[in-house]
């Protein structure tokens, strides 16, 4: 039970730090672009934000309406909305931290912040870069294929890229390295689900800025998460009974 507790402890601390920092970055770099995009969304009466099946009610939504108030609870704009974004960042920071710690423990554990940067970059490649090649970051009001199809492709791409990267790094043989490289390429040969038309009310400049902002903030998040795991692991989980002096 010690092992599980230590993994959760290190992941929780690292996720808290990375989640708080990424929230600050998002507040400055990505959220303003999302809010700007929502003005285009609200100006489009035909668009239904909540449901992919566009047979909803609401003829001509009022221009001032919040995009989420057709159904269900939503946080109020401003502090409450930011608080929930922060909560989501911290909670998933811990979730991503758990995955990062577990993966690295199977390779002997992250032994310092510099090694953590490397593992963090691997996390960025697996969870942001690879799925982003086929499904670039989207703004509200942009056309997109079926949600479930995109989620399935996203998850499959992350799994294949993670497994492929692992085989390349730790597979230990040429054959497995080639298999790993193939696993990383195959999702892009299959291709991500795309909308029927890319015609969008969102100006291309706005979307370009958003893709750049999302990619860079993701990069910072992952490198910070990896470095934080390296710091907290060496500081708080040292000296535990383990092969190779690793966390577990």
């Amino acid at each position: 039970m010690n092992i599980f507790r230590n993994v959760v402890f290190v992941a929780a601390l690292a996720g808290l730090v990375a989640g708080l920092v990424i929230t600050a970055l998002q507040t400055f770099y990505t959220v303003p672009l999302i809010l700007q995009a929502e003005t285009f969304e609200n100006a489009e009466p035909a668009h239904d934000h909540a449901a992919p099946v566009a047979t909803e009610t609401a003829p001509a939504a009022p221009v001032e309406a919040h995009p989420h108030d057709e159904e269900g609870w939503a946080p109020a704009d401003g502090a409450e909305r930011t608080a929930f974004t922060a909560l989501a960042n911290i909670v998933t920071g811990i979730g991503f931290g758990l995955l990062l710690v577990v993966a690295s423990e199977f390779a002997g554990g992250i032994t310092g912040w510099r090694q953590g940067l490397f593992w963090g970059f691997a996390g960025f490649a697996v969870f942001a870069l690879a799925p982003g090649l086929g499904l670039p970051p989207e703004l509200p009001a942009m056309p997109a294929a079926d949600l479930v199809a995109r989620q399935v492709w996203w998850i499959a791409t992350v799994a294949a890229t993670g497994a492929g990267l692992w085989l390349v790094a730790f597979g230990g043989s040429a054959v497995l390295a080639v298999v790993g490289a193939a696993l990383m390429v195959i999702p892009h040969i299959v291709g991500a689900p795309q909308p029927v038309s890319h015609d969008s009310p969102i100006p291309p400049d706005l979307h370009h800025d958003f893709v750049v902002a999302v990619t860079i903030t993701n990069l910072v998040f992952w490198m910070l998460l990896g470095a934080a795991v390296g710091v907290f692991r060496t500081r708080f989980a040292r000296g535990l009974e383990a092969p190779q002096g690793s966390l577990a």
């Binding site: 039970m1 092992i3 599980f4 993994v7 959760v8 992941a11 998002q26 990505t30 959220v31 999302i34 934000h49 909540a50 992919p52 989420h68 269900g72 939503a74 909305r81 929930f84 974004t85 909560l87 989501a88 960042n89 909670v91 998933t92 811990i94 979730g95 991503f96 931290g97 758990l98 995955l99 710690v101 577990v102 993966a103 423990e105 199977f106 390779a107 942001a128 799925p131 499904l135 670039p136 970051p137 989207e138 703004l139 509200p140 997109a144 949600l147 995109r150 989620q151 996203w154 998850i155 799994a159 993670g162 497994a163 692992w166 999302v214 993701n218 383990a242 092969p243 190779q244 577990a248």
Partner: protein
């Protein structure tokens, strides 16, 4: 993560807690990033867009 299947050096006592920790991580990320529940989607809306999860 596929890495959980590549345990060649560790003992059984080490693999199981690590696997549970990975499952917990997958559950957390899956729930916040992929849940179709309206309230979860709305609460995490800006997060999902900012982290490039598929969103609505």
């Amino acid at each position: 993560m596929a890495s959980t299947t590549h345990d060649t050096t560790s003992t059984q006592s080490r693999t199981l807690p690590l696997a549970f920790a990975a499952l917990l991580g997958l559950f957390i990320v899956g729930f916040v990033g992929f849940s179709h529940a309206e309230a979860v989607h709305n609460a995490g809306h800006d997060y999902r867009h900012s982290m490039a999860f598929p969103c609505h």
